[in-house]
């Protein structure tokens, strides 16, 4: 046991200066002892014999001279079966157990292990004595809800290890030993059902990193078709307040085609987490027929919870995501909102009296954001299987202005940008992703050439719309006018999607390409209209028909019936050259 002790020298809100005699480790965890409580803290700067530590809880009552115990461990999370379905705070305290123990409030100084020490899991060994294994390779597995949860050689064991013995099939607790391994130098170590990992260091126990190419279907049309996300890719959603960032994240967390979803609610409203918390257990995942909660893990450090653990919460989230990736699963991490995390960095930087960068954000903001998003990716594991971590972060720019440091630093490192606009949300055009500003470097679920053409018509249509505001409808040629109507049609029936309609809320990839082909066909056709009124009436009617079509269950009778009607109506007005 480590017994290094320091004493508090200075207190400035949650930043303490601690005098120590022997040595300290940068980023190690320290416990501040105050009035019988131990408050968790992290070393963030060392100057001479004084360590500066940020405390993860309220520091009321701390005195100069109070003892601080250094642990020698970096800030870590527990990895093992029993994570899924949990609701943790930023430091992996299970909130539901905490409520049972401490009541209504998040009392400080309460530390509950992230994994239950009581629950037993049925372990089935897959490795046998004599096997040579590297960190991250399987020793066996236990069933956890939908998955076979792999029990792996701890990620921080260097080199190759030979299995001496493995526990037989049986019920074990997370702290039980399951195997003894020996390395080439004769050192033996014991592996348990659980292991721990420091959150700020990426897990690298895989064979190689691959380029993200396979699309991650979110079932939101404007995303999958126009601004797609890839498995193992990264994307960001900046937008002003009230534009629908959280709703978009909630929809994605329900419908995205991945194995595990980790929601990191970072510095946002508690009420929104409560909705997820209370509703998810009731919802069924259409992919598996089981409760959505079984594939979901919530990290919740809402705006009124201590700011230092807000900073830790995104790292906790991404570490847990990497852990499930190591089992060959596809994981989606949704961080809402990364601006609050950046503000947490800014608060600490201010207390450290560092020289501020733009808008008082620290100068290292950009590299910290880049390092976080770089933890997303597709990897090939040692056993040949592939796993991925996809990261989607929302950004809440001050005043809704994207020209601010957090948005700009994020845009440099992500693969897709879904910019929400106030105009679209005011016009109730949801999801309010601006189709002209947004971009993606990943591959769409539909034909790229067709998407490019649709984007062109969209842009031209908007230009015509702008022009019409000046010269009026009379001054616009019928061809331009039809382009405008086509763009509006595309917007109304494809870009907009009713998040609360049973069928329309989620459009699978296959249906997207089918519907998009129809819509594209309309965009590409030449129509002959007598006058503008006829054109407008036709497109209004067509939009209504298409919207109704969107509301029909795939391959139902009405679906096919409406499609026929649609095709016939389009044929009627087509100009055949």
């Amino acid at each position: 046991m480590d017994a290094r002790i320091g004493t508090v020298q200075a207190v400035n809100s949650n930043l303490l200066k601690v005098k120590f005699d022997e040595q300290v480790i940068q980023n190690e965890v320290a416990m501040v002892e105050v009035g019988g409580l131990a408050l968790k803290a992290e070393v963030i700067r060392v100057r001479g014999q004084v360590a500066e530590i940020q405390v993860f809880e309220d520091t009321t009552g701390v005195k100069v001279g109070d003892p601080v115990r250094f642990s020698g461990e970096l800030l870590s999370v527990e990895l093992g079966p029993g994570l899924l379905g949990q609701v943790y705070d930023g430091l992996q305290n299970p909130l539901i157990e905490l409520a049972e123990q401490a009541g209504f409030f998040l009392e400080r100084g309460v530390d509950i292990p992230g994994l239950s020490r009581e629950t037993t899991w049925t372990f089935t060994p897959t490795a046998k004595a004599g096997d040579s294994l590297r960190a991250g390779e399987s020793l066996g597995h236990v069933p956890e809800g939908l998955f076979e949860h792999r029990i792996m050689v701890p990620f921080d064991w260097p080199g190759v290890w030979t299995v001496k013995d493995v526990a037989g099939k049986g019920d074990l607790k997370v702290t039980d030993e399951i195997a003894t391994l020996e390395n080439g130098e004769g050192e033996t170590r014991k592996a348990r059902l659980m292991q721990s990992w420091p959150v700020k260091i990426p897990i690298r126990a895989y064979a190689e990193r691959l380029r993200p190419v396979e699309p991650l279907v979110t079932q939101v049309r404007i995303i999958d078709t126009f601004f797609p996300v890839a498995r193992g890719g990264t994307y960001c959603i900046p937008g002003p307040f009230g534009a629908g960032k959280t709703v978009l994240q909630q929809i994605t967390s329900r419908h995205a085609d991945v194995d595990v979803v980790i929601v990191a609610a970072c510095g946002e409203r508690a009420g929104e987490v409560v909705e997820t918390l209370r509703e998810f257990p009731e919802l069924t995942d259409p992919r598996t027929g089981r409760s959505l909660m079984e594939r979901t893990l919530i990290i919740c450090n809402t705006s009124s919870m201590p700011v230092a653990s807000r900073e830790a919460s995104v790292y906790t989230g991404v570490t847990l995501a990497e852990y499930y990736r190591q089992m060959g699963l596809n994981v989606l991490l949704l961080a809402d909102s990364t601006s609050r995390w950046a503000q947490a960095l800014r608060e600490m930087s201010g207390r450290l009296e560092e020289i501020p960068g733009e808008e008082a954000f620290p100068a290292y903001l950009e590299s910290v954001i880049a390092a976080f998003y770089e933890r997303g990716g597709v990897v090939r594991l040692h056993d040949g299987s592939e796993g991925s971590v996809t990261i989607g972060g929302t950004v809440s720019p001050a005043g809704g202005n994207f020209e601010e440091p957090v948005t700009q630093s994020t845009l440099k490192v992500v693969g897709a940008f879904h910019g929400l606009s106030r105009e679209r949300s005011d016009a109730r055009r949801y999801p309010a992703i601006n189709p002209l500003d947004s971009w993606s470097k990943y591959e769409s679920v539909v034909d790229a050439a067709k998407v490019a053409e649709a984007k062109r018509i969209l842009r031209e249509g908007v230009e015509v719309g702008q022009m019409m505001k000046v010269v009026g409808e009379e001054g616009t040629s019928i061809d331009d006018f039809v382009t405008h109507l086509k763009a509006e049609y595309l917007d109304a029936v494809y870009l907009q999607q009713n998040a609360f309609h049973e069928v329309d809320a989620a459009t699978p990839a296959k249906r997207q390409s089918h519907v998009f082909d129809r819509v594209h066909d309309v965009l590409a056709r030449h129509f002959s209209f007598k006058d503008k009124d006829e054109a407008r009436t036709f497109f209004q009617e067509l939009a209504q028909l298409t919207r109704d079509w969107n509301f029909q269950a795939q391959d139902s009778e009405d679906f096919h019936g409406l499609e026929k009607k649609l095709v016939a109506r389009i044929e009627e007005v087509t100009r055949h050259a």
Binding site: A10, S13, D58, V64, A99, V247, G267, S304, V307
Partner: protein
Amino acid sequence: MRKVYRKIDQIAGNVITLRAGGVASRELALVRSTRGESMAQVIRLDGENVYLQVFAGSRGIATDAEVQFLGHSMRVAFSDDLLGRVFDGSGVPRDRGPALTDNYVAIGGPSVNPAKRIIPRNMVRTGIPMIDVFNSLVESQKLPIFSVAGEPYNELLARIALQAEVDVIILGGMGLKHDDYLIFREKLEAQGAMARAVMFVHTAADPTVECLMVPDLSLAVAEQFALQDKRVLVLLTDMTNYADAMKEVAITMEQIPSNRGYPGDLYSQLAARYEKAVDFDSAGSITILAVTTMPGDDVTHPVPDNTGYITEGQFYLRNGRIEPFGSLSRLKQFVNGDTRSDHRAIMDGMIQLYASFKETLEKQAMGFRMSAWDRKLLKYGERFEKEMMDLSVNIPLEQALDRGWAILADCFEASETGLSSKLIGQYWPKGKPETAAAEERKAEEPESEGPKEETAKTEAEDEKPSTDGKPEGDSD
């Protein structure tokens, strides 16, 4: 007897520094100078140096003033005796009543465990149609009123406080004009509501530092009442003054400012207060209504901007009326589905027509000719503003919905309102020509299917608000 310190090393702004040992972070101290006594709070410790923020300000403090540490942090005596009382920003009675000294509770306590919250489900009725009908206030909601100086926001708060069906009202006044404080008190007394109210009032004439304590005092008391299964309404006015007080202290402490001089933790500080709004699983609730004045009517100013990201919607108060556009209650869809079957339809329908009225006004201003439809809209808009938007209108929700139908019936034909025929059949005032135009059309071409289709369409549209009421609800 606790040790008395008599040597102050530094006085800067409202912060004094002295050398002392065994002092705890955020501990309180009593500072006695020739000009009187004041409480002070430890805001920083650095070796032997203790930084104290003096509530009454540093004016008149001598370097040999007496400083005595009290061994506890800021707290408030909680009991039912608080009801009907008025205190200042340091918790001292303002009403010549006795000081309370029993059952102290700490202020600024830890936040509520999200696992102990429930999805809000009760509407708070205010008697103001622009709130009840169009943006219902929900128990446990945190909602600011965005306004500019000169608007009657304090009158509005007082009215809501008086009419809301809550058990306890707590007023936190920050930088309040003394007149406004008196108005609040008189109104509550006149209506006999003082017996269920507690006031923590910092007036514009009081020392700035006391302003900083007001929200924490108010919310700590609110929390205790809520834990006793009471429904509490907390009124905070004005949060911009609170943010400015924070700015003042931050600058004195030589903190690096982030945006227009405000400290970098403005968001966290505001959120820590607003997030006290809660609906407890198996206990009472706290609803927070705050006033945020927008300097220069600029919503991108750091205070309203950060507030918007924290709160569950906002009311814009402009020209003495709650603006229907921009105002938003993010929680309304939790409650307005179970009030009356026409609530959501009236909410959407009347606002759409009011938006058309605004467009017509623009056309009129530009000198375009007014069509018959335009004239109908002008009549409608005028009546809507007078009979619904005006803040003097004071009627329960059901009556407001009925009045909505009456206005619609006076100005339009049923088919022009865009409301579903089912609701029209149920609520359209009797004796008004419901479908004059439709009947005429029928008479002309009896076999026309026109009206039928129209009905089907409006019905389909009516479905939308119920399913899609949410997108405008919660967002980021």
